[in-house]
């Protein structure tokens, strides 16, 4: 037998927000929708999602992030940080 060093790391799950529990529903919650100009599918669903969430009593906060790098990059990161601070839970992707 030989001894080797483990090449992997433990991922710091503390950096991630806990999954929002839907127990009790979204009524009275601020639900964020983080959309993306690059994906046309967002344009198709955002109005439907917003209407459905509001019908269930949620307040919806939509953010359309700008470019990730370049002149807009820093502003985009700041916008997303602020949006994350303001919402109780959020949809951040379509899982495509």
């Amino acid at each position: 037998m030989i001894e080797i060093l483990d090449p992997t790391v433990s991922f710091d799950e503390g950096d991630q927000a806990p999954t929002f529990s839907l127990t009790g529903g979204v009524s009275g919650k601020v639900v964020g929708l983080r959309l993306d100009h690059a994906w046309r599918s967002y344009h198709l669903v955002v109005d439907e999602w917003q209407a459905l969430l509001e019908a269930d009593g949620a307040k919806v906060r939509v953010v359309w992030p700008g470019e990730r790098v370049g002149a807009e990059g820093e502003r985009t990161r700041a916008d997303l940080a602020e949006w994350s601070r303001l919402v109780d839970c959020g949809v951040v992707g379509l899982g495509n």
């Binding site: 037998m1 060093l5 090449p7 710091d12 990161r77 495509n96």
Partner: protein, 353 residues
């Protein structure tokens, strides 16, 4: 600083096939046989860096694992990295951690994009980093093959990049097991890439580029420098490049690798690199009529079509980054197209002593 290595120890049979099988079973390999990262091998790598084993270089996306020098060394050991090349691996990991490189997006996207490593500086030959014939694959220099692979293993094992788990890349690309080459500075008529980016010729510099693949460019019909550059510019502005998917042309770089013979030919017309870049920039566009009607509407809505009906690849000449490498066989260039949401990053490497 500590002398102790903190990585968990694993016991395996003293057999290269056993290591390989375990790497596949536990998914910390890249599908290619590995070198056993024993403590002695890891310590040998660490001796090449002035940094302590527990020094933190950055957090690596997409899962933001902490890249200590030790953990980078364990992965570099598995890749077969020469201790003398280890500082370049550290520099590459550091460069990828820059916010403007957008490593999270790059490692999770559906695109094939992956960090490609370009090396400048005085140790290129000694470290067997390929810069002449076959430098993007096939030349088999230890430096090229193991530096790129070390970086790729760090992304997998420290960053947590994993196909169909964190990465949604539809195809991936061969460079995802590592792509590293050097600029053939001695064969270049222009200042090196590192010099263009503010470093000196004596610095060992690593540049990482989010490249979507290797796009071969060839011509045997025309010897004229301006004609060739015109055709190169039109070729890198191909309609389905990621650069045309974004709402701005201002982000990302296309790396253009030019063989030494073509470089001499181009330099006879453009002895100054900014002039060469300007010429390429001026021709790197397509008329909106190239795209079908449905695509035209989207490009227009994104503001990508100018008043004359041109869709520009870039906003600025410096977004076409020219490096000289490849064999003296003439006729060929290679473009490393931009993913368009990542900015080229360069870092100097630092050695012990």
């Amino acid at each position: 600083m500590t002398d102790e290595l903190s990585s968990r120890r694993l016991l395996i049979d003293d057999d290269s096939l056993a290591l390989y099988r375990r790497s596949l079973a536990e998914q910390w390999g890249d599908g290619v046989p590995l070198i056993a990262p024993t403590e002695s091998r890891v310590r040998e790598l660490l001796s090449g860096s002035p940094l302590a084993a527990d020094a933190v270089i950055c957090k690596v996306a997409p899962r933001f694992g902490v890249a200590t020098v030790e953990k980078i060394a364990v992965n570099a050991a598995m890749a077969g990295c020469d201790p003398a090349a280890f500082p370049l691996v550290i520099a590459a990991v550091e460069a990828m951690g820059a916010p403007e490189f957008n490593l999270f997006g790059l490692t999770t996207t559906t695109s094939s994009v992956f960090p490609m490593v370009i090396v400048n500086g005085p140790t290129r030959s000694r470290l067997e980093i390929d810069m002449a014939s076959g430098c993007m694959g096939g030349a088999a220099g230890r430096g090229s093959m193991t530096i790129g692979r070390s970086v790729a293993l760090c992304l997998r094992n420290i960053g947590g990049q994993s196909i169909d788990v964190t990465s949604k890349s539809v195809f991936g690309q061969p460079a995802r097991t590592g792509l590293c080459f050097a600029e053939w500075e001695e064969a270049s008529p222009w200042p090196s890439l590192a010099q263009q980016r503010g470093f000196s010729m004596d610095d060992e510099v690593v540049t990482v580029h989010g490249g979507t693949g290797t796009l071969p460019l060839a011509d045997i019909n025309n010897d004229d420098a301006l004609d060739l550059l015109y055709l190169i510019a039109k070729s890198i502005a191909y309609p389905l490049t990621n650069k045309f998917l974004e709402s701005t042309a201002a982000n990302g770089q296309t790396v253009l690798a030019v063989n030494p013979a073509w470089a001499d030919r181009f330099a006879a017309v453009f002895p100054d690199m900014p002039d060469l870049q300007s010429y390429l920039f001026e021709h790197a566009w397509q008329p909106i009529e190239v795209w079908p009607e449905a695509s035209r509407r989207v490009l227009e809505a994104k503001g990508r079509v100018d008043a004359t009906g041109r869709v520009w690849l870039n906003d600025r000449p410096d977004q076409i980054v020219v490096v000289v490498c490849g064999g003296r066989g003439n006729l060929h260039a290679v473009a490393l197209p931009s993913w368009a949401e990542s900015e080229l990053q360069s870092r100097a490497a630092f050695r012990s002593g």
